[in-house]
């Protein structure tokens, strides 16, 4: 009886979810085809790049931030060192691709378990070290990553300060994918057709599209896995640890196991993000994995919303787009030119971080949910 009540109550919710995701996938495809090459958006006299390169970077960051959601957002452990695992995944993948000619997807089979294990091992101190101390330590971890990969001893694997080039590996779209047909069909849409280019796609465009779709699918898979995890017994255990460790233990939650496993999952996600990043950029270089990256990933986490899954997507986009767009802004009225060059992106991200923590602690996602609830409640009250 209760169960019936429950399932009947949640059917509309489920339908809504399905509709939402369908809409999301269609929108993604449209964007992919429209901006497959160097698509730009013009605002004022500035051109902002929205090519798939940017979006692929956003996907990489999104997956890394998803990992932070697991360990910070759901398990409540302040781990700031995600760039360490982002970098580890990137370098392992780069090494396998460049030196052993592995295909990208196959490298993930090594990246995931190794990052998972390293994450679990480095997560062990978290069993004793808590709160701020853990934040300190993991921040230190993030800070040392570049100097580790620059080690002379590791030169053969990492390429030292110059980085590891992987651009010899090409993503070739499977021939059965109807990219050309879809592109041409989209081009025939009245009025909007122009957005989708002209004629069949070049090999380079096809390769880009294929990468984007592949990465999106990977991201989707990661979301699905994490979504399943947090709505399960171990996921509730994680959230219980976050909210009150003592009562979690009393309820039978193995704190040590749950914490280390969630570190492992977070690190594995960081590694997948890093592997995607390198596959997109074509090189793993030490300074792409500095502690600044670790902080930017935290910005992504907070701005999207700590403890919300869609927040990771928003965070990834913000991280990929804000610094880039800030540096490609040539002129804005009333803003001196000096403030438009260099580290303006970093400034914006920092301000976002502070402003959101002060005024919207749940990030954009929670803010939107609150707004939605307000709207819905208003509608209800007017209906009555």
């Amino acid at each position: 009886m209760l169960q019936k009540l429950y399932s009947s109550r949640f059917t509309p919710e489920r339908n809504y979810q399905i509709a939402k995701w369908t809409f999301f996938v269609i929108a993604l495809l449209l964007i992919a085809f429209a901006y497959v090459d160097v698509g730009t958006i013009s605002i004022g006299s500035n051109n902002y790049n929205l090519s798939l390169i940017r979006l692929n970077k956003a996907i990489a960051y999104t997956i890394a931030i998803l990992g932070l959601q697991v360990v910070i957002g759901y398990t409540g452990q302040i781990a700031l060192g995600q760039s360490f695992f982002f970098g580890t995944g990137a370098y392992i993948s780069a090494w396998l691709i460049a030196d052993h000619s592995w295909p990208f997807l196959l490298t993930l089979l090594i990246v995931i378990p190794s990052c998972f294990l390293i994450g679990m091992i480095l997560g062990l101190p978290a069993l004793r070290i808590r709160g701020l101390y853990l934040a300190l330590l993991t921040f230190g971890l993030a800070a040392v990553f570049p100097s580790i990969v620059k080690l002379d001893k590791l030169y053969g694997y990492t390429g030292g300060a110059g980085g590891k080039l992987t651009s010899n590996y090409k993503f070739i779209a499977p021939s059965w994918l109807p990219f050309d047909e879809v592109a041409q069909a989209l081009q025939k849409i009245p009025l909007l057709g122009d957005f989708f280019g002209d004629g069949p796609l070049s090999t380079r465009e096809e390769s880009r599209l294929w990468k984007f779709i592949l990465f999106s699918l990977l991201a989707g898979l990661c979301f699905w896995l994490v979504h399943n995890l947090i709505r399960s017994r171990p996921g509730r255990a994680m959230r219980a640890i976050r909210d009150n460790e003592t009562s979690a233990a009393v309820s039978g939650v193995n704190l040590a196991l749950t914490k280390t496993l969630s570190f492992g999952v977070a690190s594995a996600l960081g590694g997948v993000g890093g592997a995607i990043y390198v596959a997109e950029i074509g090189i793993a270089s030490p300074d792409d994995f500095s502690s600044l990256v670790a902080i930017y990933l935290i910005v992504g986490l907070v701005v999207g919303g700590v403890g919300t899954l869609p927040g990771a997507v928003i965070g990834g986009l913000i991280y990929a787009l804000v610094p880039d767009w800030a540096s490609s802004t040539q002129s804005v009225s009333f803003v001196p030119e000096r403030w438009l060059q260099g580290p303006t992106g970093s400034l914006i991200l920092g301000v976002l971080l502070i402003v959101l923590t002060l005024f919207l602690p749940g990030g954009i996602v929670m803010g939107w949910r609150k707004f939605k609830n307000k709207l819905l409640r208003k509608e209800l009250s007017t209906a009555r």
Binding site: L2, Q3, Y6, L225, V226, N228, L229, R231, S232, R233, P234, G235, R236, A237, R239, A240, R242, D243, N244, T246, S247, A248, A249, V250, S251, G252, V253, N254, L255, L261, S262, V265, G307
Partner: protein, 255 residues
């Protein structure tokens, strides 16, 4: 003397020179409600924390149902059949009420990180845990709050949610740490009835720490009195009320 379900033998624990519990020995028999009282700082909550393995005693032994409790890890306690509530609420505020209960039923699930991510057997387990949680909520008259976030509910409701969370793991022994705190007189009476009826329905054994003497004396079959970490008396409520040591522990020694 009947074999106790919980046997506390010679438990001693010190914090920086202060002996919080001093060679404490007592036992609780199956399906008994045992009240544990004593003035502030007598060591009652410390004992709860020792039993639930939050603190390590320096000496002594605790046997529960034939198991050496002190050999268990903190999360092993609930597997052994003990659950507890906390003096100040220790719910998980950012989870919904039903999720709190489902997490309370942690030991009744089997999903691990990997099976959950791959959804192997996840749906069936979620369904059965949820049903279980709803049943428990219904029993405690909490169904209407099931999908609410746990934070922001009235205090008395949250206390009952905590009770539900402790019960959902089907414990044999329930440790209640000041369940009446913050409740009004009528709520306390209701709570007492509820606890007694739960005990009768599930053959539970209950160890109760409470300052509300009316509640303790009204419910308990046996009362243990602590003062300065030592047991100063043990007996039925009437015996305790007339015990001169107890009276002077509470009221001070008459001159």
């Amino acid at each position: 003397m009947a074999e106790g379900l919980l046997e506390v033998e010679g438990i001693t624990i010190q914090f920086g020179g202060i002996t919080a519990l001093d060679n404490l020995t007592f036992s609780v028999e199956p399906t008994q409600i045992c009240g544990l009282i004593g003035p502030n700082g007598a060591g009652k909550t410390t004992l709860f924390n020792v039993i639930s393995r939050i603190y390590d005693p320096s000496e002594g032994k605790i046997t529960f149902n034939g198991i050496d409790l002190l050999s268990l890890s903190p999360h092993g306690i609930s597997h052994a059949g003990i659950s507890r509530t906390f003096q100040n609420l220790a719910l998980w505020p950012r989870m919904t009420v039903v999720e709190n209960i489902m997490a309370g039923a942690h030991i009744r699930g089997k999903q691990n990180f990997f099976s959950a991510m791959a959804r192997i057997g996840l749906k069936a387990e979620e369904r059965s845990l949820r049903n279980e949680a709803y049943k428990t909520l219904e029993m405690l008259d909490l169904s209407e709050f099931a999908e609410n976030p746990c934070d922001g509910l009235p205090f008395g409701t949250m206390k009952r949610i905590e009770l539900a969370r402790a019960l959902v793991s089907s414990p044999k022994l329930l440790l209640l740490d000041e369940p009446a705190t913050g409740l009004t007189h009528s709520e306390v009476a209701e709570l007492s009835e509820l606890i007694i009826s739960i005990r009768d329905d599930f053959d539970l054994t209950i160890l109760l720490v409470e300052h509300h003497m009316g509640m303790v004396m009204g419910m308990s079959e046996k009362v243990v009195v602590l003062d300065f970490g030592e047991k100063i008396a043990e007996g039925t409520p009437t015996e305790i009320q007339n015990n001169s040591l107890v009276v002077s522990a509470y009221l001070g020694a008459p001159k």
